[in-house]
């Protein structure tokens, strides 16, 4: 799998998690199960295009651990990434200002990775 395809799959999974409350709740409750189901859907005999996909081991680990620093370094699209991070931390979680400061500190050492797919 090429590097560019990999960035696309990171973006695609973030997009699918953020776009419905049902998917978001499901991911937050059990990230590993959500990712497994998402990867399983894409490898089914009749994949539900355009849903589902595949990740590298490093990407899968990053999603399961909510490791946004790693996803940023791998070239996740910044708009999708920030909204994904906000969504999974939810309205009852870390306040946005605090979350933003932590996010900025975490990603700053990585500069501006290529995010074109």
């Amino acid at each position: 799998m090429g590097f560019d395809v990999s960035r696309y799959m990171i973006d695609k999974l973030m997009w699918e998690i953020d776009r419905s409350d049902e998917a978001l709740d499901s991911f937050v409750e059990d990230p590993a199960a959500f990712v497994a189901a998402w990867e399983g859907a894409a490898s089914a005999p009749e994949p539900p295009y355009p849903l589902g996909g595949s990740l590298t081991g490093e990407e899968r680990d990053a999603f399961e651990a909510w490791d946004y620093e790693r996803l940023y370094a791998l070239g996740a699209h910044p708009y999708l990434l920030w909204h994904f991070v906000r969504a999974i931390h939810g309205p009852g979680g870390t306040p946005v200002g605090e979350l933003s400061e932590a996010f900025k500190a975490a990603v700053a050492p990585h500069g501006y990775p290529e995010f074109a797919t």
Binding site: W15, D18, R19, A76, A116
Partner: protein, 261 residues
């Protein structure tokens, strides 16, 4: 929209109100609106450079924008006849390979301005979705050409509509990067130069100055400034009636208006 306006956003609300009154005074029959979808309807499984919405009615916004921004869900009337003037009925116009949508779904880039500028949502809309988010993007010269195409189409249209052309975007902007939500602009030098292009109606200068690298350097998501190049070109490349940058928590927010051309 119903809560009291926080202090730093009061100036933004006042600027929207000035634009709302200017739009009402123009008495438009239709609105052509250049803005960028934010991975709500359009993702890179299929990513059009420029997509014209030609539905008689369309929906805004998406469930995740209701959740995250608290936006209301609304229906907006469309103008399929004017959309077909822009697109061509059976063949696309020479030099412009538009995508089109019979079911466009409007995100905050369209809905937030519309809810301020025309809260009745009673003017039929032709949305033009531009890809300012997922590289490869159309180059700045293509945005100028888009604006010229909008202008000449309206001038030549047999529909004789009074058409308002709207665009949303921003100056230097960053989200999902180390300079996000800092309370100021990530690229003040770019902002100053960009306001100069707008105030002079300098489309050629803006096109020359808006390379991908320059926009990225100003802030990782500055690319929606390109929509303003389309607007400047649609207005005929003259100086605007009004051009101002209003400062708030998101950095400087640009407002600009051109009169009837």
């Amino acid at each position: 929209m119903v809560d009291p306006v926080p202090g730093d956003l009061a100036e933004v609300a006042a600027a929207f109100d000035r634009s709302r009154r200017r739009l009402a005074a123009a008495e438009p029959d239709a609105i052509v609106f250049v803005a960028s979808d934010h991975f709500r309807q359009l993702v890179t499984s299929n990513m059009p450079a420029f997509m014209v919405g030609k539905a008689p009615s369309m929906r805004g916004t998406h469930p995740n924008e209701v959740r995250e921004f608290g936006l209301p869900v609304r229906e907006v009337p469309g103008d399929p006849d004017l959309a077909r003037d822009l697109l061509g009925r059976h063949q696309l116009p020479d030099g412009f390979d538009f995508a089109f949508s019979d079911e466009p779904w409007l995100d905050h880039a369209f809905m937030v301005p519309l809810l301020y500028l025309r809260p009745q949502l009673d003017v039929p809309l032709v949305p033009i979705f531009t890809n300012c988010n997922a590289p490869p993007l159309p180059g700045a010269a293509r945005f100028a050409a888009l604006g010229e195409h909008i202008r000449t189409t309206i001038q030549r249209s047999s529909l004789e509509r009074r058409v308002a052309v709207l665009a949303t975007g921003h100056l230097a902007f960053e989200l999902g990067g180390p300079r996000q939500l800092s309370g100021g602009s990530p690229g003040p030098d770019f902002d100053e130069e960009a306001l100069g292009w707008i105030r002079a109606g300098d489309v050629a200068g803006a096109v020359a100055g808006c390379t991908y690298e320059r926009l990225l350097d100003a802030g990782n998501l500055t690319f929606q400034f390109l929509n303003f190049i389309a607007l400047m070109a649609a207005a005929g490349a003259g100086p605007p009636e009004l051009a101002e940058a209003v400062h708030c928590r998101f950095g400087p927010e640009p407002f600009m208006t051109w009169g009837s051309t």
